[in-house]
Structures are given as structure tokens and as C-alpha cells.
């Protein structure tokens, strides 16, 4: 069953077009990862789904109902089912509230004051592996990893159906990063969550997502199962991204695709294929706009896909 389906979503801020038509869907219980670098529009996309960023055109269907462009008030009933985790572990926690107050905030907002909020706080802290006495602390007294766990607890307090996670491992040390991904994996299995994870870090995607999409300048350029994208990538940009991550091995062979130049500005988008300006394989045909090519769930937007 499809839980979330986004089709042809477009967003612009004034003259700057950030999303130029994004389409993808997430099934129930599935984890989908969107990978892109800065300026690819992934944060705008996730916020548009959560109703925090504008989206002028397209559809966002959650359980079949269109939630694009709803006002904060009309969006409210959906808030229980869709929760969002932000990039900055500490900065996304209200600084003057204690941890206990923060993680029970969803109950208060949804008017569930009749619950025993203290008990809920302890239950949630236990769920994310934090000691109960953490409830009295303030955000600035937490380490990055702890703050991130508090964020997870808050996001899952109401047992949502869909968790949107914006760079869930940003700002975490390598030794803590794994803990968080393990936690998310466990909770997904326990609660039957669907997740949309957006990140620039390909290395973490491999271990959490079922399917993934690669974004470039506000558009998907490749999409498929995590296996397919990692092992049989077709788009040159995906290839470059995959080869870009330095491996902890001094003897690793570097058959790297180094991209020329810098990502183009959103105000001066290249004509035709938008990756053309940096693509090492660009030909004349790339001056046209490439179509979205769908083959057995492994889709690519390129005239000359790599094999």
C-alpha cells in the first residue's frame, strides 16, 4: 500500500525555482532515502511535505488525501501521522524547556493532557535508550547524540505512520552515528514506521533505506532500490557521488569521477540536461531535456545512461 505519493511537486521562492517537479512514492513500512548535495532542494522538499515550505504545484498524497498547501490549521489532523525531525540536534529543541517537557510536547499540543505525562516521558526516554533522570535536563546540557535521541523520542511520541528525517546523522561523531541508525532501524521494525530520510551522506543510506532517489538541482535524476543504485548506478552524477566518498583505506584505488566546476546557481540553471555543465560524459544530445526513464523500478533521467 502506498502511504505517501508525491507527484510533480514544484516550489519556487520568488524567481528562484527550488523544486522543478519531484515525483516519488513511499510504501507502508518502507524506508526511502533522498540523497543530494547542498542546493539540491532536499530540505525544501521535506519541509513542503510537512507543510512548512510552500509548494505551488503538484500533489502530495498522504493515504490518498492531498495535503499540499494546506494551512497550519487544516494540516493539524495530519500532524499525528507525519512527524518531522530536523537537522540540528540541539537547535531543534526549544531551549527553555526541559527534556521531559520537550518530549511530551506533542501530547500537550494534541490536547491529550489526560495522559500521565510523566509516565509517558519515562517510557519515551526508555524507548530511545536514555536514562529517566535525563528528563530534568535542558537542551544545552545534552551532547549531540543525546539531543538527537530526544528528537527521535519527540518525533515518535504520537506513533506516527511516517517519519521525515532531515540529515538524521548531521553533527554526530562516527562512533555515535551508528547508534542512531541502529535505533531508527529498531524503532521502524517495532512501530511499523515508514521513513523518508534525506541526507548527503551515501554511506549511511546503504544501511537504512529500502529504496533511494538521487536529487540534483531540485529534481530526481535516478531512483531505484538501494542495491540497484549502489551496484548498478546509471546516472553520471550518481556515479560521481558514489566514487566521491573517501574510504578509510590508504591503498584504495581511486577510479574517481571528479566533477568539473561548481554546482550551478539556481538562478542560472543550465538549459537541457541540468547536469550537463559538470558532466564528464556530456554530448550534443544533452542540450535537450532528458525524459524520466522508467525501467523495472530503476529510473533515470539521462540520455546516455552508464551501464
Amino acid at each position: 500500500m502506498t502511504l505517501l505519493s508525491v507527484s510533480n511537486l514544484k516550489t519556487s521562492y520568488g524567481k528562484t525555482t527550488v523544486l522543478t517537479g519531484v515525483s516519488f512514492h513511499i510504501d507502508e513500512g518502507e524506508t526511502y532515502a533522498l540523497v543530494g548535495e547542498s542546493g539540491s532542494g532536499k530540505t525544501t522538499l521535506i519541509r513542503a511535505i510537512a507543510g512548512l515550505a510552500p509548494a505551488q504545484d503538484g500533489l502530495i498524497l498522504f493515504q490518498g488525501k492531498n495535503i499540499r498547501g494546506l494551512s497550519d490549521r487544516k494540516m493539524r489532523p495530519f500532524r499525528k501521522d507525519i512527524s518531522l525531525m530536523f537537522q540540528d540536534p540541539v537547535g531543534s529543541l526549544s531551549p527553555r524547556l526541559t527534556v521531559g517537557g520537550l518530549i511530551t510536547e506533542p501530547y500537550r499540543i494534541q490536547g491529550m493532557n489526560n495522559r500521565d505525562l510523566n509516565a509517558e516521558a519515562i517510557r519515551l526516554l526508555e524507548m530511545v535508550g536514555l536514562p529517566a533522570d535525563m528528563a530534568g535536563r535542558y537542551p544545552f546540557q545534552l551532547s549531540g547524540g543525546q539531543a538527537r535521541r530526544v528528537g527521535v523520542a519527540r518525533a515518535l511520541a504520537l506513533e506516527p505512520k511516517l517519519l521525515l528525517a532531515d540529515e538524521p546523522t548531521a553533527g554526530l561523531d562516527v562512533s555515535v552515528q551508528g547508534e542512531l541508525l541502529n535505533l531508527l532501524n529498531d524503532l521502524r521494525d517495532q512501530l511499523g514506521l515508514s521513513m523518508l530520510i534525506i541526507t548527503h551522506n551515501l554511506n549511511i543510506v546503504r544501511h537504512v533505506s529500502d529504496r533511494m532517489g538521487i536529487m540534483y538541482l531540485g529534481q530526481l535524476v535516478e531512483e531505484g532500490t538501494t542495491e540497484d543504485v549502489f551496484h548498478h548506478s546509471k546516472h553520471p552524477y550518481t556515479r560521481a557521488l558514489l566514487s566521491a566518498s573517501p574510504k578509510p583505506d590508504p591503498h584504495a584505488k581511486m577510479d574517481r569521477i571528479i566533477l568539473q566546476g561548481d554546482p550551478p546557481s539556481l538562478l542560472k540553471r543550465p538549459s537541457g540536461c541540468e547536469f550537463r555543465s559538470r558532466c564528464p560524459f556530456a554530448k550534443d544530445i544533452c542540450k535537450e531535456k532528458p525524459e524520466w526513464n522508467e525501467t523495472h523500478g530503476h529510473n533515470v533521467r539521462c540520455f546516455i545512461p552508464l551501464s
Binding site: S83, S94, R96, I109
Partner: protein, 299 residues
């Protein structure tokens, strides 16, 4: 380079977080010598105002023509005025008037300014423009002119002074609150509240306000002496509190008229204004450093 001692390195062991924030701030102020002086002056000032009726050695409005225009003596610490009223007692009583004007005016202005400023900063663009225009319009009025106009309309009284002071300082608080709100409205914790479906009241009242009020209270502490001086000024012009109620301004006025005969009268009237102003300014400045840790670090 940023301060190498990051939060992570100085991991805070939980022991002091339950300590009241108010006590922590007062403690921080008292550590600074200037802050301590400010705290003492303000403390004495508030004490005088609260217990004026018990402290005063003589009736502040009671005339005693026999003893008029006396110099300082053991009976009259600061001498008497032209009607033989004890200056010292009138000063003490005057502090009550000063506080009666300053506190409601400043806190009223702060509260209204905070509310309007947050609405301007968080609300739609047109509302922001509209409120900003009003703030600027009010601020462009010279305070004294505005006061003269209002007094001419409704007559001099304590309430008029409070109203004038409040109206003219609302925009100052409003502006600051608006800027702070604008800076915070797109921060992740506010977006997180929105993503959970928090109401406007909740976002502004519970999450935005506590982060703004610190800055505003500092502003208020530094504003109180201005207000006291303004009240004195209006009373000096005869537009403030009605005689015979003693106020620092009217004392100054009486002293000014008799400056050639009894100079200590004007000295006695001026000193409390100067000392109170200094006290509140010291307190405000130290408060600013204590409340805003970034400023402290740059010292």
C-alpha cells in the same frame, strides 16, 4: 577561532539545573562590583518607596512656617523648604512617586511592546508593515511635546505621566521584540513546534517569549532611570503630579526657585535622581552581561 571549550568538553554534571534562574542571575550581578553597587542602590530605593510611611521622620506635607528655609540640622537632615516641610521626608516620599510612575509605565510598555512586537515579527508581512509604521510614527514624536499635548487635554496627574511614558516607550520594546522574533521565527525549534501542530499562542507564548524576555528586561532596567528623570522633568514643568504630593521633580522645581537663598534644596532634589539613575544603569548593564553569555565571553 571559536572558543575551544565547547559544550561537549565541559560536560555539565546535573546538580545545579534546578536552582532558580532568578537567583542565578542575581548572584551573577552581585559578583560584579558595579552590579553590586547597582543592586544596593536599587534595593535602598525600593525599600524607601515601600516603607516610606514608616521611615519618614516628619510629615512630608505638614507645614511648619516657623522652621522654613532651614539648613541641614539634626532635626532636619536636609533642611526645610519655603513652607517649612522637611526635605528629607519629602525625598523619601518622592521615591514612592518615582516608583509608582516608573514600574507600571515600564512594565506596561514592556508587556504591550513584547506582544505587539512578537505579532509584528511572526505575523503576515502587511501586519508587520502596519505595526512598524505605527511604532515609527510614535517614536518620531518628541516625548516632552507629546506629554505637553496630553497634559493640556486631560490635566496633570500621576496617571497622565504613566500613560505618556508608556505610550512613548512601547515602540522601543516593540522594535526589539520584533527583531528578536524575526531572528527566531525560522529557527529549527520553532519550525519543529509548527510541524507538531502547535497553536500560534503556544508558539509565541511558550517558545518564543522566554527567549526574548531576557533582552527586554535588560532594556527595562536601563529604561527605569529615564522614566524617573522624565517624571521629574514633567513635575518640574508643573505637568506632573499635583502639589502638595512630593515628587523629585517638584522638589527640584522648588529648589530652583530658591537657588540663591538655599542652595542645598536643589542639591537635595537632584541627588536622588542622579543616584537612582546610576544605580539602575549599573544594574541594567551588568544584567545585560549576565543574561547574554555571548557578551560575557567577549569581555
Amino acid at each position: 577561532m571559536s572558543d575551544p571549550i565547547t559544550d561537549k568538553e565541559t560536560k555539565v554534571k546535573m546538580s545545579d539545573h534546578r536552582q532558580s534562574e532568578f537567583l542565578k542571575i542575581v548572584g551573577g550581578v552581585a559578583k560584579n562590583p558595579l552590579g553590586l553597587i547597582g543592586l544596593i542602590i536599587v534595593g535602598v530605593f525600593v525599600f524607601c518607596a515601600l516603607f516610606a510611611d514608616w521611615i519618614v521622620p516628619h510629615d512630608p506635607v505638614g507645614m511648619n512656617i516657623k522652621d522654613r528655609l532651614q539648613g541641614p540640622s539634626t532635626t532636619y537632615f536636609l533642611g526645610t523648604d519655603q513652607l517649612g516641610r522637611d526635605t528629607f521626608s519629602r525625598l523619601i516620599m518622592g521615591s514612592q512617586v518615582a516608583l509608582k510612575v516608573a514600574l507600571p509605565a515600564v512594565f506596561g510598555a514592556m508587556f504591550i511592546g513584547l506582544t505587539l512586537g512578537m505579532i509584528a515579527g511572526y505575523g503576515p508581512r502587511w501586519l508587520d508593515n502596519f505595526l512598524s509604521l505605527i511604532f515609527d510614527t510614535i517614536r518620531s514624536f518628541p516625548t516632552v511635546m507629546f506629554a505637553l499635548a496630553v497634559v493640556a487635554l486631560v490635566g496633570p496627574s500621576l496617571q497622565t505621566v504613566v500613560f505618556v511614558v508608556m505610550a512613548t516607550s512601547i515602540p522601543i520594546y516593540g522594535r526589539v521584540a520584533r527583531t528578536q522574533t524575526l531572528a527566531l521565527r525560522n529557527s529549527e525549534f520553532i519550525l519543529a513546534e509548527r510541524s507538531m501542530g502547535a497553536s500560534l499562542f503556544r508558539i509565541l507564548g511558550i517558545h518564543m517569549m522566554p527567549n526574548i524576555i531576557g533582552v527586554l528586561s535588560v532594556l527595562a532596567a536601563m529604561d527605569i532611570p529615564t522614566v524617573i528623570a522624565l517624571e521629574a522633568g514633567l513635575s518640574f514643568l508643573g505637568l506632573g503630579v499635583k502639589p502638595p504630593t512630593p515628587s523629585w521633580g517638584s522638589l527640584l522645581k522648588d529648589g530652583y526657585a530658591l537657588i540663591r537663598q538655599t542652595p542645598w534644596l536643589i542639591v537635595a532634589g537632584g541627588l536622588p535622581i542622579i543616584i537612582a539613575t546610576l544605580g539602575f544603569t549599573f544594574l541594567g548593564e551588568t544584567l545585560r552581561d549576565v543574561v547574554d553569555p555571548r557578551l560575557r565571553k567577549n569581555r
